[in-house]
Symmetry: C2
């Protein structure tokens, strides 16, 4: 299975989490039509007020890489960066199966 | 939105990761018919050989709780526990939107 997944942790500057969520939801809209995008879910977490987690699954690493240069992607990244308290952290995943995974 | 999500991190005893993946995939099959189960994806990760991450989304916390007492759930938990090097860790999430989220 070539599918790849990511948990991406964004830490917003104090008071900027909701603005960051808004931008990441725009990124989700943009990503919706990107080839190979199977999951791009934006989450807050009750355990850390400034953190936003994005759950991603792509049909291949190449599809993910291509999406980063899709029209509008760079602009959104440019809008998000000033809101961040530090660089995003990423957990790389290999989805093996389960409920909700495209087969 | 009442939906809740989890990233659950399981650390297997050395050499037991694949056996743990098998059990968690059986749990996914069991969970498939559980009311409110929207996502239950079992992942390995290239960064930690003994770790298995499960991505979950439920329509409500109550649905998730109910699933833990579904027929067969306790048996699977009983099979998984001896394979673990320690208790699972869980990141609680509130999905806000994105691609692949049931609306």
């Amino acid at each position: 299975m070539d599918k790849i997944g990511y948990y991406v942790k964004f830490r917003a500057r104090t008071g900027q989490r909701d603005a960051l969520v808004k931008i990441l939801l725009q990124a989700a809209e943009l990503t919706q039509d990107a080839p190979g995008c199977e999951l791009y879910i934006v989450n807050t977490t009750p355990s850390e007020d400034d953190v936003v987690w994005v759950t991603e699954i792509w049909s291949s690493a190449a599809d993910h890489t291509a999406s980063l240069s899709a029209p509008g992607a760079k602009e959104l990244i440019g809008q998000a960066l000033p809101l961040l308290a530090g660089p995003p952290e990423r957990i790389d995943l290999h989805p093996t199966g389960g409920v909700g995974l495209h087969t």
